[in-house]
């Protein structure tokens, strides 16, 4: 899901070329990235387009396959209280990154209180039993530190990077904020206000509205069918007791993992973990884990009316698969071909061939107990239905005719060759390793991944597409100026049209009655 609009990107518009890239000097007034450059998927042979040879010779030189990159085996130890500690050494730069995950995220929000997990993480560094919010901020800033907390699906996290001469401070601070947050009412009020303001802005952002509406449809009736950041109504209502109850139920050593990556040895890390987390009590909160399903949504097609929009945001997709599904690898390949990270049919059809959009992609999201498979794009208002039709046709094409051998080979070689690129920065290494542990996957997962991808055939991929892509009845979300395409919209069938002012992601039909005097 898109984060709410990042206002700082617009003002401090010195956009970075990519997340985490070149933090010191953010270069561009307008970082005009060509995202997802693509190939048509059918022509990959090294055939020159024109017959004129350049002074370079006619063809680019062929390349040997990538060197196999074997991720160093992390050191793992479990403390007596059940907390798992995992360490990956990298001594080339004087930086240590600690990242702790708790195996409960926004899916564990009580059904009537979306946003709980997120608000808990927002308050972790806003005061503890031992330190005020200001003392925590001061200690982090002094260490040249960088903190990030948040709730995803299936896990919540806090991540803290410091100069390696402040490593002990980092363990101390992380332990304090994870174990002893105070959830003081005054701090809750501050975060509540900020969250509500952020939602105000997000509810004007077509991308946020489209993503959130799509997830409400695709994850309807599962624990994932509500916005992670909550709704206006739930955020207004959450109080200290709600947050404390969530924290004491899920933030426990046996339900958590700590990763340390960077300029630190396993011995140092285990000793510091023992010192700062060893006393964390493995207390048991009574009772079964509560059920957390979101409300079931009856419609498959939603159009949100934003009369001032000049572009329409479009989402089309299906309920996908949970992470443990046997079709995971085959659908990963299929998604790569439809709208994956680099080479994709949607980009080629919508942008390269028709100039309908700047961006087109698809996402396969796989969580513990559910998933989604979603195509995303946007276009100028008058081309809304042309663009939607191209997306629907591309899905139909994939369903009817599957993929080519050439596309399969390209996708396989991309997915395998790309692995080494994902293990450069400490925080991404920590994230990858923790994700494996949260999902119960083996630590050598990435080392066996290439063989699993290589083993797939066109038939395997086709069979998985047939199981999980429904060309007749996809979920569709449009956010734009509906008056410009109302006639076409009617042809789609039973679309629910929602004025932007009455969008309510907490309600089963995504809408609340609009009253003129409606105030937050």
């Amino acid at each position: 899901m898109d984060e709410p609009v990042k206002i700082r990107d617009l003002f401090a518009g010195r956009k970075q070329p990519a997340p985490g890239v070149f933090l010191l000097r953010v270069p561009a007034a307008l970082t005009v990235a060509i995202v997802f450059l693509a190939l048509s998927g059918t022509v990959l042979a090294q055939t020159p387009a024109g017959a004129i040879a350049s002074e370079l010779g006619q063809f680019p030189p062929l390349v040997p396959p990538p060197k196999a990159y074997v991720l160093p085996a992390p050191a793992v130890r479990t403390l007596a209280n059940g907390l798992k500690v995992v360490v990956i050494e990298r001594h080339d730069l004087p930086l240590v990154t600690l990242r702790m995950v708790v195996k409960a995220g926004a899916e564990a929000d009580p059904p009537d209180a979306p946003g709980t997990a997120q608000l808990v993480t927002a308050l972790l560094n806003q005061g503890t039993a031992h330190r005020s919010a200001e003392q925590i901020a001061k200690a982090i800033d002094r260490a040249g530190g960088d903190i990030d907390t948040g709730a995803d699906w299936d896990s919540s996290y806090a991540s803290l990077s410091v100069l390696s001469n402040h490593t002990a401070t980092a363990f101390d601070l992380l332990s304090d904020i994870m174990l002893h947050p105070s959830f003081a009412p005054a701090e809750i009020e501050r975060k509540r206000r900020q969250t509500l303001s952020a939602l105000e802005v997000a509810y004007q952002d077509p991308g946020y509205l489209a993503d959130t509406a799509f997830d409400d449809l695709a994850f309807s009736g599962t624990p994932y069918g509500h916005p992670q950041d909550g709704t206006m109504e739930s955020v207004r209502r959450l109080d200290s007791a709600d947050l404390k109850s969530f924290h004491s139920r899920y933030y426990r050593p046996g339900n958590s993992i700590l990763a340390a990556v960077g300029d630190i040895t396993p011995e140092e890390a285990f000793a510091l973990a023992e010192r700062f987390f060893g006393n964390w009590e493995p207390k048991n909160v009574g009772g079964a884990t509560p059920a957390t399903s979101s409300p079931a949504v009856a419609t498959r097609i939603v159009a949100i009316d934003k009369p001032d929009a000049v572009q329409t945001q479009i989402r089309v997709g299906d309920a996908g698969i949970p992470r443990a599904s046997g079709d995971y690898y085959a659908l990963t390949v299929a998604n790569q071909i439809l709208g994956g990270a680099a080479a994709n049919r949607l980009f080629s059809a919508l942008r390269t061939r028709r100039g309908l959009t700047y961006g087109a992609s698809s996402e396969l999201n796989c969580y513990q107990s559910a998933g989604s498979w979603e195509a995303k794009s946007f276009t100028r208002t008058p081309e809304t239905f042309k663009t939607l039709k191209v997306i629907l046709d591309q899905r139909r094409e994939l369903y009817d005719h599957s993929i080519t051998e050439n596309e399969l080979a390209t996708a396989q070689s991309y997915l395998i060759g790309h692995l080494a690129l994902e293990f450069e920065a400490s925080d991404s290494v920590a994230e990858q390793v923790l994700d494996l542990m949260v999902r119960g996957l083996p630590l050598d997962y990435w080392n066996t991944f290439p063989a699993k991808i290589r083993a797939l055939t066109v038939q395997d991929v086709q069979a998985a597409i047939r199981r999980h892509l429904d060309p007749e009845h996809p979920f569709i979300v449009l956010v734009g100026n509906i008056s410009e395409f109302k006639k076409d919209l009617k042809k789609l069938g039973a679309a629910r049209i929602i004025p932007i002012a009455s969008v309510d992601f907490g309600s089963a039909n995504l809408e609340r009655p609009l009253k003129p005097a409606d105030k937050p």
Partner: protein
């Protein structure tokens, strides 16, 4: 050089009485290998073998500031065209090679430069060098691809500016703060100019700027330098040097003597403001205290702008200061998005008093040390990937004109004193040097959401765009 940096940092920590707390960290130095071809191409190489990946970047020293009136947006439009095929490699094929190898590629355009980059498994280096050499001089620009890219660029403009809350604010700020220097225009340019671009226009732009003597090639990562140099000579060596003059004379912005202000009414949920102050170019002596000032003012939750506007008074949802440091003098700015019920004026009042403090008394050694630690951390995090290292090196070489600044520049930060920051604040962060843009949610029948949800803004005025 490096030992002295550590020594200075140790001194700084001693001065703060914290030397026993933590020994200073060591920032490893970077060994740069340099190659200059007869046709003017410069190549800079840094080997790093821990992970089998390599970053290749080509920096063309052309950005939106080089554009002529009536031909704005060309640098960016051209960035798109560079992916549309050469006489040898068909449309879409460039990236298909990168993808098949498991790599990533992209490009971006700024006021000052256009950068093309690839990060690939190291065994692909030879192929990537070939591909970059090929599109440096063999681009095949057809009317069809040009017309298609114009439409794509227009969609990009709608996405980034026209359909984005607050999307027009940056354009308004630059249009108001600058009167003669080309930074007045943002890189996306005028859609009218882009629409009128002909194949001859873009061909001329290509022949002028996409030439070896206007390019810097960066290679960072897992490769063997002698082999890499052979490939560079073989593939880039035969390319012809460019002969057309490149526009490098830009009118200096006259000194601003009085505050400028624009009020905008936009379809946004919350009011906002941004203050821009003219400041000197990057790499000049005053750039360093100003960059540290932006850290002191707003980085981290203990910084005064966050503390006062977001945390204590809860006037703002988000507030930050930052400098757009570029090749020519640009803007230092402070912005805030306000919480419902608060006016821009309230936020501006707080920012005024924070800036006045910065002008009136030197910051504490402790605050300055924190900012220096944050800068060190930025350097370190900015060196974790080969691509970040390539970016850092390219910026030092092309914009700051000295590649070795990746080794020497940190010391410039460590040398800054509290008095330097005070002096810079007095010189630049003053009202007569400021352009203020205030943004108010528009009250119209069209956007019922903004109307229904918002506490009413102070006033409604006609927009000024």
């Amino acid at each position: 050089m490096w030992p002295s940096v550590n020594f200075l940092l140790a001194l700084a920590l001693l001065a703060a009485g914290r030397a026993l707390l933590a020994a200073p960290v060591t920032l490893p130095s970077t060994a740069i290998r340099s190659l200059k071809l007869a046709n003017g191409l410069r190549a800079l190489m840094v080997e790093r073998h821990d992970i089998p990946v390599v970053s290749v970047e080509v920096w063309y020293h052309v950005g939106s500031k080089n554009e002529q009136p009536g031909k704005t947006g060309f640098a960016h439009l051209f960035e798109h065209l560079m992916f549309d095929g050469t006489r040898t490699v068909g449309a879409e094929q460039f990236s298909s090679y990168i993808v098949r190898a498991g790599g990533e590629d992209n490009a971006y355009t700024t006021e000052d430069m256009t950068v093309f980059w690839e990060t690939v498994p190291s065994t692909s280096l030879q192929q990537v060098l070939w591909l970059e050499a090929d599109r440096m001089r063999n681009l095949d620009i057809s009317k069809e691809t040009l017309e298609n890219e114009k439409k794509v660029v227009e969609e990009e403009r709608r996405m980034r500016f026209d359909n984005q809350p607050y999307g027009s604010v940056v354009e308004t700020l630059y249009h108001t703060a600058f009167t003669v220097h080309p930074y007045q225009r943002t890189a996306i340019g005028s859609m009218e100019d882009v629409e009128h671009a002909t194949v001859d226009d873009v061909r001329e732009f290509y022949d002028t700027h996409y030439v070896p003597n206007n390019a810097t090639l960066l290679v960072v990562g897992d490769f063997e330098a002698a082999q890499c140099e052979d490939w560079i000579r073989k593939y880039f060596g035969p390319l012809e040097r460019g002969t057309r003059p490149i526009n490098r004379e830009f009118p200096a912005e006259p000194r601003q003597t009085a505050e400028r202000m624009v009020k905008l009414n936009l379809d946004v949920a919350l009011p906002a403001f941004v203050e821009g102050f003219h400041m000197p170019a990057d790499g000049t002596p005053d750039a360093y205290p100003l960059r540290l000032a932006s850290k002191i003012l707003s980085e981290g939750e203990s910084s005064p702008i966050y503390r006062r506007l977001v945390y204590e008074k809860q006037i703002a949802l988000d507030a930050e200061s930052s400098g757009n440091f570029t090749e020519d003098p640009n803007l230092f700015f402070v912005f805030a998005v306000l919480n419902p019920g608060h006016s821009p004026a309230e936020g501006e009042g707080e920012v005024d008093s924070i800036l006045a403090e910065l002008r009136n008394k030197p910051v504490s050694e402790e605050e300055l040390d924190e900012a220096k630690n944050q800068i060190l951390r930025d350097y370190i995090q900015g060196r974790e990937t080969v691509r970040c290292r390539g970016e850092e090196l390219g910026y030092a070489a092309v914009i700051l004109k000295d590649p070795n600044l990746v080794n020497t520049e940190p010391q410039r930060f460590l040398d800054v004193t509290p008095e330097d920051i005070q002096r810079a604040a007095r010189k630049y962060l003053v009202p007569q040097n400021m352009t203020l843009i205030e943004v108010y949610p528009r009250i119209t029948g069209k956007s019922a959401a903004a109307q229904g949800r918002d506490a009413s803004p102070r006033t409604t005025r006609a927009g000024n765009e």
